[in-house]
Each structure stands twice: as C-alpha cells, then as structure tokens.
Subunit: 324 residues, 2 copies
C-alpha cells in the first residue's frame, strides 16, 4: 500500500517527466507554467489511493491521474480570469503574466489535454471513465456559475451554499475517487460509495478552507487571511452569521458589508469579532466533523480488507484532528 | 441517399427538439442563444453525408452530429471574446450581450456538452470517435493560436497561412467527415481518405471566404465587405500580394497597412485596387480550384458505389462552379 506522501512524490515525479510543451509553444507554455507551481496534487493522489484499494499496480494509471490534475488546473486558469485574481499559490496568474486571451485559449487547450490524458487508459475503462469525467466537468462549471451568481445575492441559504461547493469543489474530488474505483474495477455499488466519500471529503475541505481564511495563519494557509471577508464572499461562516445574528449584530454586520470606506484591517477585525460573538466557528467545525464522520462511515462500509482501507482512514483522521 | 438540403433540415429539426437549457439557467442560456441563430450546420451535415456513404440509418447518429455543431459554436464563442467581435451572423456576440465571464464559462460548458453528445453513440464507436475528436479539438486550438500570433507578424508565408487554416478551419471539417466514416464503419484507409477530403474542402472554403471578404456582396456574404482588409488580416490575398508586389506596389501597400488616418472606404478601395493590379484574386481562385480538385480525386478513389458518392461529388461541383 502506498502512503499519501509516497503517492504525492510519485505523481510529482511522473509530472516532471511529462513534456507539456509542443508547437505552437506559446499555447502550451502557460499550461506548463501553471502545472509546475506545486500544489498538493490532491486529486490524482486520491484517485491513485482509490485504485490502490483494489489493485497493486497503480502506475498503469498515472496518465489519467495526471489528466485529473491538468483538468483541475484548467478550471483554476479560467476561474482566475473570471475573478480577475492576481496571485495563485504565490505566483502571478496566467492572465496577469500574459493576458486574458492567453488564459482563455491555453485554458481551452489544457481542458483538451486533460481529456487526452484521461482516455489514454485501456479501452475497457473508456465508457465508464469518460462518462464519469464528463459529468464531473459539467458539475464544476455549474458550481462556478452558482459561485458567481452568489456574489450579487444577499439571500444565499446554507443549503444553496453547500450545493454550490458540492459542485465546484466536491464533484472533482468525488470524481477522482470514483475514477480510481473504475480503474480498480470495483463494483458499481463501491464506485458510488467512493464518489460519495469524495463528495463528503470535498465539502469538509471547502468548509475547512472557509475557516482557515478567517482563523488560519498565513504560513499554513498560503494566502492572505481575511480575503473572503474583504470581498463579502458568502461563505458558510457569513451565511450562518447572518442567519443567527440578533438585531444589533445583524445591523453591525450589514453596515460592515456595505462600508466602502473602512480599512481592510478594521473590516477583518470587526467581522471576525462578530463571528466570534455569534459562535459561527464552532458551528462550522460541527459541520466539518459531520461531513468527515459521514466519509469515515462510508469507508468502513467498503467491502475492502481493513489493511487496504487503513491509509485512507488514517488520512481522514488526520484531517479530523486538524479541525480547530 | 439524403441530399445536402434534406440533411440540413434534419439537423435543424433535431436541434430544435433538443433542450439545451438546464439549471443553472444562466449557464446554458448563452449556449441556447448561439445555437438558435441559424448557421449552415455544415459540419453535422458533412458528418451525416459521410455516414450515408456507408449506411442508410443515419438518424442513430444525430446526437454526435449535433455535438460537432455545439463544438463549432463553442469555438466561435471563445474566439469572439478573444477577437472582441461585436456581431456573429448579424446578432450580438455573447460577450457583448452578456459579458466576457459569461462567454468564457458558458463556452466551457458548451465544450463539455459537445463531448456529452459525441459519446452518446454506441460503445463500439467510442475509442475511435473520442480519439478523433480530441485530436481535432486540439488542432482547432492550435489554429486559433497561430491566427492570433499572425496578427502581430508581417512575415507570414503562404505555407504558414495554409497550415493555420488547415488547423483552425480544416481540422473540424475533416474531423466531421472522418467521424462520419467511423460511425459508418468504414475501413481505416477510407477514414483517412475522408479526413483528407474534408481537409482539402475546409481549406477551399476558407480561401473562398477570404475572397468573399473582398469580392463578395454583403447579402450573400452575411457580413461587411473588407473586414479583413481593415484589420490587416494576413489572408491568402494579402500575403500573396506582398509576395508578388513590385517595389512601388509594395511601398503603396505598406503605407496603406500602416496608415491610421485613412477612412475605411478609402483603405478598402485602394487595397482592393492593388489586389486587382497584382492579380491575386486569380491566384486565389487557382488555389481554391487545386484544393477542390484534390478533394474530388479523393472522392473518386473511395471504394463506395458511384450513386452513393453522387451527392458529395455534386456538392463539391457546385462549390467549384461558384468560384469567381
């Protein structure tokens, strides 16, 4: 059995061996650029972990695993144009380093590259893998659409928010695990279980990410603290705070959200203070725990020997221990 | 055997029956908008014609045919953002009617929709069809990249230009015909022949389009005459004119291309006069004839009965008669 770290190294080594640049070079250079910037390689690692539940020979599936990572980076590339983001993992985004047209077209080429890598596996996996991938790809688009629509809405519910992150973040993680079970030749029932496991995990990750944006420290989080607060992003924390605020808290929150003269530091400090008063962090932690526990339940019910499940269970337990 | 017109009607009727809009509606409305605007449905018609060379039951393949049309429209959607085009077939482009983010994300969703339609055919066609489609999709991206790079280059050769239109325009037409032969269960040799036939046809179409931009009339062309001249587009005509111009013609052409004060009418008139003097229209017509004749040769060599080939041959002859 491979550990998480071993798989991460294996994915990275195999990505280093790939040559993503062909002619016309300017089309492929931005793809190479976004793929070389590190990142956790979470999705391919999870796919390989799912294969490893059922098979020892996982290296046969390295290309589709890399395809999933390429697809993930394609969505980041286009999302960064739409959000006009300046930095991604500490480096200039593609549309800032080059321009929007480059980000659009190289993103398109990255999406097709992802398909090329995905279908490089044996024909017997083709129908299942392409159908899974197409559905996931469309779900990610839908999630991004909802995310953009939520920017201008003040009445987003917790249910709508969870549905949005299920699509935008959960679907690709769920799809990575399901694809792993397809390549592992698991039964359809087990494929569905791994999809759900990934979905719960993805939602837990995103809620954790929302928490870290407010309560994390810059070093472990990797980006500036309070970014979500500054752009009034309807995260689980903000939606829950608006739902549970008493009248005075609600009016403070409303005026903080609409105050265009307040300094960044002040806004972050005051919104965080309200979050603490209302106790949204604990509610978010409860929600994260709920999703992690549901994912553990699913793992326990997989018809795979306990020692095979061990590494995935261990990974999820570490996640659970890190809730704070 | 179906005629071109019959197939066009059939494709349109089937497209009318499809519901392209699902939740979130704002993601799919622009796709519906660009698909409802007419257009010749050339690519699905050619795919169905290729199937019809080998099979009578073409309706089984209507979904992948529509998928090709969706893919074509996805490329137009993103190209229009990159070119900042205002009009497409007489209607506002998606990024003008909505905005760039809508065009990017709905374009992405359109590309995935194209894949969903393409893979809806029987499993036995899946490997061939997805491999053909992936390659074509990447070629179209490469063509668009070269097209954008040529905008800022003054030394584009005829060979480079032909290669660019092979990728940007030829590949999808060639791919449509090849996919038709895949669904028609033709031999690999015949598949390659139909791919080449489509490539020659695609290049002839694009060269004809370049000619029409200068010598067409607004009604049959569907867009303003002289658009390519106004934006100094390195078409076959301009590249050939620059290659064959004598010193005085070359210096006139150079100053027309760099003159930012000249009126649109004046520029179109004077560049066209130089084209006429140099005789580039006749050279372009010779080139178009060459490509059409090569495509007819390929059709003649297909191992399909003459009456099956008749309709495709007839279509190509009509094209040849229209060269002017």
């Amino acid at each position: 059995m491979y550990t998480f770290d071993e798989l991460q190294t294996l994915v990275q080594e195999n990505m280093n061996k790939e040559n993503f640049i062909e002619e016309p070079q300017k089309l492929f250079e931005p793809i190479d650029y976004i793929l070389e910037d590190g990142g956790k390689r979470l999705r391919p690692v999870l796919m390989l972990m799912a294969i490893n539940l059922y098979k020892d020979n996982i290296e046969e599936f390295m290309k589709p695993a890399i395809g999933i990572e390429i697809f993930h980076n394609y969505t980041l590339l286009h999302d960064d144009v739409m959000d006009d983001a300046e930095l991604r993992r500490g480096r200039e985004t593609v549309h800032k380093k080059w321009n929007s047209n480059v980000a659009i077209l190289s993103g398109d080429a990255a999406a097709i590259t992802a398909y090329l890598y995905l279908v490089s596996s044996d024909d017997k996996y083709l129908r299942s893998s392409i159908d899974t991938f197409n559905k996931v790809a469309m779900d990610v688009c839908k999630g991004q659409q909802y995310d953009m629509e939520f920017e201008t809405r003040m009445d987003v519910t917790v249910e709508e928010y969870i549905r949005m992150i299920e699509l935008k973040t959960g679907a690709l993680i769920a799809g990575s695990l399901k694809l792993g079970s397809v390549f592992g030749e698991a039964s359809e029932k087990e494929q569905d279980m791994l999809y759900k496991f990934g979905m719960y995990l993805g939602v837990a990750f995103q809620l954790q990410d929302d928490n870290l944006d407010v309560y994390g420290d810059v070093e472990t989080f990797g980006k500036k603290i309070g970014g979500d607060i500054l752009c009034n992003k309807k995260t689980f924390l903000l939606i829950t705070a608006m739902n549970l605020a008493n009248e005075s808290q609600k009016s403070s929150l409303d005026s903080l959200l609409s105050d265009s003269n307040i300094s960044d530091e002040d806004k972050i400090e005051k919104v965080t203070a309200l979050y603490n008063e209302i106790g949204v962090r604990e509610i978010a932690n409860k929600e994260i725990t709920k999703y992690i526990d549901m994912s553990i339940d699913l793992l326990n019910n997989l018809s795979v020997s306990e020692d095979r499940k061990g590494i995935l269970l261990n990974m999820v337990s570490i996640l659970k221990d890190r809730i704070y």
